[in-house]
């Protein structure tokens, strides 16, 4: 939608100014990951002030959509919450270019429980037993806690619909290669819904982006394994890699970027651009100081 309105705006602008200066306005096409779409729009919005001669048209549709658009040459920058696959790299080579990767920020997946849940930390192994197929942990008492308001002791698993990038990432990072989720998870259709349900359900556990935390839920401190110190998810621990389940967010271009596209990417990676992604609740690609 936003791309269409931009095209219309451009067209109107061109007519209004009699095709003068604004005809030279460059348009950068930017598409992909739904995780990144809000940030990408905020960047495009802010960039209007930085360089009024460049319009950035942003649309979502998922990482896969953005990458295929990049391969087909219909976008200048693809947003993705995963790395390109070997197959996609091969396809790009066939089309005669090498995709160039930029890490524009990090997204940490926090593990949420109800605010009354006494549990403070959990290990990746325990999470895998809770969420993974044939996993052995189904009750809170197995984790050594009694949850007030959860008399049944049953762990209510809150997950995501089976084609979201978050679902894929959590499966790969926590359950491990090839392991499926348990059947019977409550599959929510959005990052916010997960936090919402967990906040209303004392027995629940769920995973969702760090950016969606509220005062009604508690984020668990996550340890690599039993006996190792745990790490609280935050923008800092996501950016420095100490938090075990944080994923980089990418932008890809067709070959080394030039001209306006390069300027735009440079600006995104500048302090100003990085503060915008931080303000949206993700971690910046490097430590920055923002007001």
């Amino acid at each position: 939608m936003s791309r269409h309105s931009l095209i219309i705006l451009c067209a109107l602008g061109w007519i209004a100014c009699g095709g003068g200066d604004s005809a030279r306005r460059a348009v950068i096409q930017n598409k992909g990951s739904d995780t990144l779409v809000n940030v990408a729009q905020a960047w495009a919005e802010a960039y209007k002030k930085v360089n009024p001669n460049v319009a950035v048209a942003v649309s979502g549709g998922g990482s896969g959509t953005g990458i295929s658009a990049l391969l087909n040459g219909t976008v200048d920058i693809a947003n993705s919450s995963r790395r390109l696959s070997d197959e996609e790299l091969r396809l790009a080579e066939q089309k005669g270019f090498t995709p160039v990767e930029f890490i524009v920020g990090y997204d940490a997946l926090a593990v949420y429980v109800h605010k009354n849940n006494p549990l403070d930390s959990i290990t990746l192994g325990q999470l895998a037993e809770i969420y993974g197929e044939d996993g052995s942990i189904t009750r809170w008492s197995q984790l050594g806690v009694t949850v007030p308001g959860c008399d049944s002791d049953e762990i209510v698993l809150v997950s995501r619909q089976n084609n979201s990038g978050t679902y894929f990432y959590f499966r790969e990072a926590v359950l491990g290669e090839g392991r499926d989720y348990k059947l019977g998870t409550r599959d929510m259709h959005g990052s916010k819904d997960v936090v919402d349900v967990v906040s209303r359900t004392p027995c629940a556990i769920g995973y969702s982006g760090l950016a969606y935390a509220t005062s009604e839920v508690k984020m668990l401190c996550l340890a690599q394994s039993e006996g190792r110190p745990c790490t609280v998810p935050s923008e800092e621990t996501a950016a420095d890699g100490s938090y075990p389940i944080s994923r980089p967010l990418f932008m890809y271009t067709r070959g080394e970027p030039k001209g306006t596209v390069k300027e735009y990417l440079d600006w995104i990676l500048s302090d100003e651009g990085q503060c915008i992604i931080q303000k949206k609740g993700y971690a910046a690609a490097r430590p920055v100081r923002c007001d």
Binding site: Q161, N162, L183, G184, R186, D187, D196, V197, R200, C203
Partner: protein, 310 residues
């Protein structure tokens, strides 16, 4: 006898003036409107069948589809497409919805049609129709934010997003259409029947129970069937209130996942033309056939509903 006047001259005059043109244009327009329903229904069926065809031919396994609960379309090991849990989810939610709404809507229809008079009746009819106008996402929101904590508190269960929640919500959603159709069926019973019964000394309730209800039987069944069809096809509210969990329910407090909700939740991010995409359209074909059968059955009954012999 006086000379017969010449035949009306209008018949021979060319009357293709603007009124004639408008008349013809409206005829064409109305005809297009009339057949468009047929074209659309046929077009939709062809479309979903074509989209699901590839999957149906190459991957579809009836045994897996109907008898396995393993719906894992994005598994890295081995995608499986068992729809049994989804079918059970839809059936359980719709079933409970009917348990909730049939007594209410038939009661409402009998009250509006047979007992209420004057203003009460008109106001009730308007209110029932108003109930039908509430968007389903609003119902879903009620399920999520009001029913969920209420069920947890009342029944002491871990999560209130379950068959009970979705069933009650769906029952409330299906009630208006059932009430309206059932009331129409009662209205179709001729007054002479009632008068005859009253003349024999029957009380008001006796008239309703012994005469009106049996006579309107077919219409009432049709009303219930249309309610079932509504329940089967409802998506948004069920998606939000059912818990969306792959599970064969053993109690009303289990979370389930409906066929429609699965399509709604997964289609958006599925690659066009992939196996998963085809599998979702196959669910669509199945849903289409079931709702089509239910509605057809209701329709046949409505056509036969004229006063039944007592």
């Amino acid at each position: 006898m006086a000379e017969i006047p010449e035949a009306c001259p209008e018949n021979t005059i060319d009357r293709r003036d603007s009124a004639w043109v408008i008349d013809k244009a409206v005829q064409v327009l109305v005809f297009v409107g009339g057949v468009s329903a047929v074209i659309f229904i046929f077009g939709i069926f062809v479309f979903i069948t074509l989209e699901g065809l590839d999957f149906l031919q190459n991957r579809f396994n009836a045994k897996e589809f109907f008898f396995s609960i393993e719906w894992r379309p994005t598994s890295e090991r081995q995608p499986t497409y068992g729809a049994l849990a989804l079918i059970a989810g839809t059936a359980s939610v719709t079933g409970l919805a009917m348990v909730v709404s049939v007594p209410f809507s038939l009661g409402a229809a009998i009250f509006i049609g047979e007992f209420a008079r004057g203003k009460t009746r008109e106001i009730l009819k308007i209110l029932v129709e108003l109930l039908a106008a509430i968007p389903s996402v609003a119902w879903g929101f009620i399920g999520l934010s009001i029913m969920n904590p209420l069920i947890i508190k009342l029944f002491d269960v871990p999560l209130g997003l379950n068959v009970l929640n979705a069933g009650v919500i769906l029952g409330l959603m299906a009630a208006p259409i059932m009430t309206t159709i059932a009331e129409d069926a009662l209205k179709a019973v001729p007054d002479s029947y009632r008068e005859a019964a009253e003349a024999l000394g029957a009380t008001h309730w006796q008239v309703v129970r012994r005469v009106v209800l049996p006579a309107a039987k077919h219409g009432l069944v049709a009303a219930v069937l249309l309610g079932v069809g509504r329940g089967f096809g409802e998506t948004m509210a069920v998606l939000m209130a059912s818990g969306h969990s792959i599970n064969i329910p053993t109690s009303p407090f289990d979370s389930v996942r409906a066929l429609t909700a699965t399509i709604a939740a997964e289609l958006g991010e599925t690659t066009y033309g992939s196996e998963h995409y085809g599998a979702l359209f196959t669910l669509g074909i199945f849903l289409f056939l079931v709702t089509f059968a239910i509605n057809l059955a209701a329709d046949v009954l409505v056509r036969r509903r004229g006063p039944t012999k007592l």
